[in-house]
Every structure is written in structure tokens, then in C-alpha cells.
Amino acid sequence: MEQAAWENRDARYARQMQFAGIGREGQTRLRQAKVVIVGAGALGTALSNHLVRAGVGFVRLIDRDVVELGNLHRQMLFDETDAARLLPKAIAAARKLRTINSQVTVEPVFKDLNAANAEALLGDADLILDGTDNFHTRFLINDVSVKHGIPWIYGGVVGARGATMTILPGETPCFRCLYPHAPAHGTMETCDTTGVIGPAVHVTASLQAGEALKLLAGAREKLNAAMMIFDLWENRMDRLELASAKRDDCPACGAGHFSFLDAAAEPLIIRHMCGKAAISLFPAEELALNLEQWADRLAGAGVRVQVTKYLARAYLESGLVLTLFPDGRAIVQGTEDPARAKSVYVRYLGA
């Protein structure tokens, strides 16, 4: 059986190893690599699909969200059953990925990446891949990357447009060299406000995955020094050379201020969810909640509640929907007002 597995391994990667850029040595390096993908949505599922099929030995997939019907047109590891079960994206993706390649390790992490856990979840990676949908998390990734010397590959997509960029800390410009300041809430287009098409997701993720293969297989000299920008609808593919973009006064890679890693001593961290009428809240210290008990209590108070292994969802009279996870994290849908969301959280969870 063991012997058969090894023969299968050669057969599985034969065409990839036949490609001169990878070869047998590159394939071995891929198997030894540890990659963390942040976000298991559109980009994250496409990225993990590529990496797991290519034989990257360890892939950690971090995501805080659950599968919904509206994801299926572009998030290609999920199906209707996942959506009906409200499965966490990281869990559903890992299940599928393991059926695709049982010879690699896939580690799903159903959590919100934040200042308190970012170094623990990203710090052991050889490479971090960006499958997030917001700039805040990208700044967080960038801080970990620069502080710990870990490369990361930015990817963003909205509408039919996408952009990618490879960041090698200490060598190339970092993300904050280009974007020193976080955008104000509501000023950026998001997939929820502008829409998105599947092909744009896959072009973006494929550009990122191509860079990842070069980096992991040891072909650093082949990495793209430009930001790639495309628009599938307008038939454009542009390069933006970044040779002069590294800034001595960059807050992160110039001055070494990692402000996004400073977890301010907030007991409850509250964040507007990009482009949605929803607020995400999580306690700075993780909780270990019994969702069944919590749901029973609410049901006793006449609230309609749905419970799965991974979450409880309460449909409140106000029209708001409160989704609670075992670690104390919650999403309040139906409002963009952090205070209102906090009040709901505190009302149903206690201060």
C-alpha cells in the first residue's frame, strides 16, 4: 500500500514535474512547504484548490464565515449541501480538498484573523496567500509578513477586475509602501456592493498561485516584480512596475511600526463587515460557549433559533439576525451600526 502511494505520487505530479521550472526538485520543495491561506471565499477556494492539487505539503485555511447560496457562482469548492448546512467555509473547503489530494495536510481554522491571533496563525508559514476581502486584514498580514520575514502574495478582485502583487519583505516594496493609510469604511468597492464574476476571481487566484509555485519551488528569480492589474470586461491587462515603490518612510517596512498587530485592550472587538449590512463582534479573549444551552435559553424566551454543530442563529424580533459561534464570535446582520450590534451582543451574551 505504501509502495503504491509513492508510485501514485509520481503519477499524480508527472506533468507538473515534467515542466522544467518545477522538476523533481521543485516538487520535493512543494511537498515540504507550509502555506497559510487567509480567507476561504472566492480567492481562497481557488488558491487552495491549486496548491493542494499541486502537492504543497501543508495548507492552513483560515476563514470566519459560513457557506451561503450566494457564494456558489464563484466559490468552486462548495455545493448546495454545504450552503443548506451552513457549514463553515474553512471546514467545507478542507473536506473537499482532502478528497482531491489525501497525501497533503489541510488544516481548516474557523476563526476571524485578528491582531490577537495573527502571529500565532501566520508566523510558522513559508508563504502567506491573500484570499481576504478587506484591506484591514491585508494590513494585518503585511505586518506579520514584514515583522517575521515571511513572503505574501496580495490578490484582490471585484466586478471583472483584479490585481495581484508579490511581497518579499526586505526586498520588494511592502503593501503599506503603496497604501500607507487604511481606507475609510464604505469607500471601497466590494463584491457585495459591485458584484463579481467567477472568471475574474480565477484569473486573480491563478496569477497568485503561479507566483506561489515559483516561490515555493525555488525559482525566486522568476517572480513578478510588477503589480498585475486586469479588467476582463474591458479587455485590459496592465503591469505596474514597482522597482521605485519601496519607501524609507513606510510605517511597516521602513519604520518597523506594526500598528495592526497592537491589539488594543478592547474586550470586545467590533468590525463592520465590508460591503454588508452586518457587524462582526468578537471577544478579545476567546470563549467556549455551549450553543445548545444558549439556543434553548433564547427559544424559551420565544426567539426562533437554529443550531448546528458550528453555530447558532437567532432571528430576533427587531429583524436583526444574530449568528453566534462557540468561541464567542458573533455576526449581527441587518445593521451597519456598531453600537446597535454591540447592544444586541451584550443583551444576548452578557457584557
Binding site: 480567507g39 481562497g44 490578490g155 468597492e189
Partner: protein, 82 residues
């Protein structure tokens, strides 16, 4: 000087190319200010702040000084979704 607008800033301005009257030498930041004055849509100002400037396919920061030899500048909004 011609300014090429990408993506949503072109949609807000209603055009992909804008000719702006500037005295060289001029910085990318000054060109952004000119555009914000010309198209007073409140959404544009914040978006312009985050746009990357480019001359001949090469990134230029807001403080990059452009001389008369530069005929065209591109402004590219960030892509945040995923």
C-alpha cells in the same frame, strides 16, 4: 496633461481620459487635487487618495514630480474584494 482613469473613478467621472491644465513641474498629488476640484463628487476625493499613480507603466507615489516630458498619467484604484 492627460490623465487616464481606471475602473470606478472613470465611472464616477463619466470618462476614461481627462485633460487637466497644470504647470509642470507638477506632482501626482497635485493632479489628484485638480481632479477632485473638477469632479466634485464626494466619493471621488477619498477614492483618489487611495489611487496608485503610474507613468509609462511604472508606479509613482503622490510626491513624484513630473516634468514636461510626461504626457500621460494613469490613476488606478485599489482592488479590495476577494
Amino acid at each position: 496633461m492627460n490623465v487616464l482613469l481606471f475602473a470606478e473613478i472613470a465611472e464616477i467621472a463619466g470618462t476614461r481620459v481627462v485633460s487637466v491644465d497644470v504647470e509642470e513641474p507638477v506632482t501626482i498629488g497635485q493632479i489628484k487635487t485638480k481632479l477632485a476640484e473638477r469632479f466634485p463628487d464626494p466619493r471621488l476625493k477619498e477614492k483618489l487618495r487611495l489611487c496608485l499613480g503610474a507613468v509609462r507603466e511604472t508606479y509613482c507615489s503622490d510626491d513624484t514630480v513630473l516634468d514636461r516630458s510626461v504626457e500621460e498619467v494613469a490613476l488606478i484604484p485599489p482592488v479590495s474584494g476577494g
